[in-house]
Subunit: 189 residues, 4 copies
């Protein structure tokens, strides 16, 4: 009965917001600017997303990538390989500076707002699930200790990577992924 919303605008706004978020971080994303850059009125943005936070949630939700679970076999070496594949993928994806900045912004955004929080959580959950899947296969197949808590091992693996991304700024490459997986599997003792 009424004039329908222009769905194209949605996409353009999201794209512009995504770029701004990547480039200038949460605070650098200015709703007014997004609207102007897309050639849309600020009202049009606010009609779709009642808040800047809501907009950011949408943007982040759109980044959801598909992570497939590597599976080269059930032997101990296969499990190690598969974990290295996952860790290497994380290193590869998270190493570039703009991505690091973004991850930091998202970590901060996660805290600001519950809606945003769960959107961000959903972002990371896939890769986390992949790791857990490999670990459980390893446990089931006997390649890993039966009493292992996959949760904790996942924290070690992913944690080390995110720690370098967010806290130390340390470099991330395949060599690091290999060393990390090796140490996690072998233990320190």
């Amino acid at each position: 009965m009424a004039r329908p919303r222009n769905t194209e605008s949605d996409a353009l706004i999201l794209a512009a917001a995504a770029e701004a978020l990547l480039q200038d971080g949460y605070d650098g994303l200015v709703v007014d600017e997004i609207a102007r850059s897309v050639g849309v009125a600020k009202t049009t943005v606010y009609r779709r997303w009642p808040t800047k936070n809501h907009l950011v949630v949408s943007v982040v939700a759109g980044w959801q990538g598909v992570v497939d679970v590597p599976n080269t076999g059930d032997e101990a070496d296969d499990i190690a390989n598969d974990l290295t594949t996952i860790a290497g993928g994380m290193c590869h994806v998270l190493d570039p500076a703009p991505i690091r900045r973004l991850v930091a912004e998202l970590a901060a955004a996660r805290m600001r707002d519950d809606d945003l929080g769960s959107a961000v959580d959903r972002l990371w959950s896939d890769r986390r699930a992949a790791t857990a899947a490999v670990l459980e296969r390893g446990i089931a197949g006997g390649a890993l200790r039966r009493d292992l808590d996959p949760e904790v091992v996942t924290d070690e693996l992913a944690g080390a990577v995110y720690y370098r991304v967010l806290i130390t700024g340390g470099s991330l490459d395949d060599a690091y992924a290999r060393a990390l997986v090796r140490t996690v599997l072998a233990g320190a003792r």
Copy 2:
């Protein structure tokens, strides 16, 4: 030669800022209000910290406190205990929600501004150094593998904790610290 800064003011400002930060979060901390509540001119605040961000970093730096390196002995069990002490301390400090929010803000701030970045880096370095010290003692005393890379193990330990703080939101307590250290030492295999 000139009139010295009133060091008492520093402390009062930091205290007020800390309280505001914990109570109302980053955005809830208003420089003007801090100054007024302490009975100091806003300029006095800005003379010490050029930016609200810098002030917040100082506040958090004050929280970090002194981290002393635990040392209960060189046996394998002692090393494990000492690492658990460190990990437990981190869990204890970083668990409360307002602190998590702050750590996230700081991680983001670290990326935005080099000045701030190094201030934040200094924040974490102490605890990181403590962990490394214990690990090296373990290696030297034969309690840990000779070929171990302390860097990587530190990443695993601290990384897991920060990962829960920033990414998953998982809980952090002594039990977790113990489980984490156990797994790191024993390995997954």
Copy 3:
């Protein structure tokens, strides 16, 4: 096409500013206070006048009001009367101390900023034009010398008044206006 400015606010702001200006002088006029007293956001003031100075110019412009050209006839005496009317009006308007202060501020502001400068120029132009009009009528009607330069005579008349306002601080009243016009017309010789 957009929401129109609330013209009532303009008037209220100008009124409040005028009052403050007269009561407390230029420095006593505080934009923030004006806004609050009118019940308007400070931004609303700054949207209309980019600077406190601009606001003051507007206020004064409003004081200038419409100057109509007196015209009692073409005889020599009529011209003299009309000139006296204009000069008397100027004396009347410019005599009060706060106004003198303002005129001085405006003269200074005129030099500092081109934008402001032309605004101030517009302020004075009306009365200047009125004087010139009467003079030209006098020349055309034969009451004044044919070879007279109206520009110079206007300078003499208005100049004397502003000179007293800005430089000597001399008093300004109807008697002075009459004496001035008489001398200008009769010459010194």
Copy 4:
């Protein structure tokens, strides 16, 4: 017994203040800056002049120039010549833009503070006295009308010049001085 004041500083401060006043106007003169540029502590400035205004007064007082009264004779033409000399001198001195700016600043300063006011008044009084002296000689010698009010004629002459300086921005040169004196003497009628 006590350390004597460094009198050289006085001169340096005044010089710096004068330059700042000329270049950037009253508001552009910043006490802090003056002190720093001279290599003196702000306190040193404030010990000598309790207020920025007082400093400005001193500066202006220092500008006092000597104006001598031209006297080529008592004939009507001589009086005209002498007046033209004075008017031409004023035009010459006041025409340059920085001087115009300064005159405006002084007019404004005059209003701000009584002390400053009288200092500024003293600045102009010499030239004003010179004009009056010539006029009185003219009256006494019969070259000018006996019933002339020298005050008013001075206003006309000086006023026209200052009017162009401060209000219209009109040009000032010898030709203008001649035209002005001619019109003042001959009258408009």
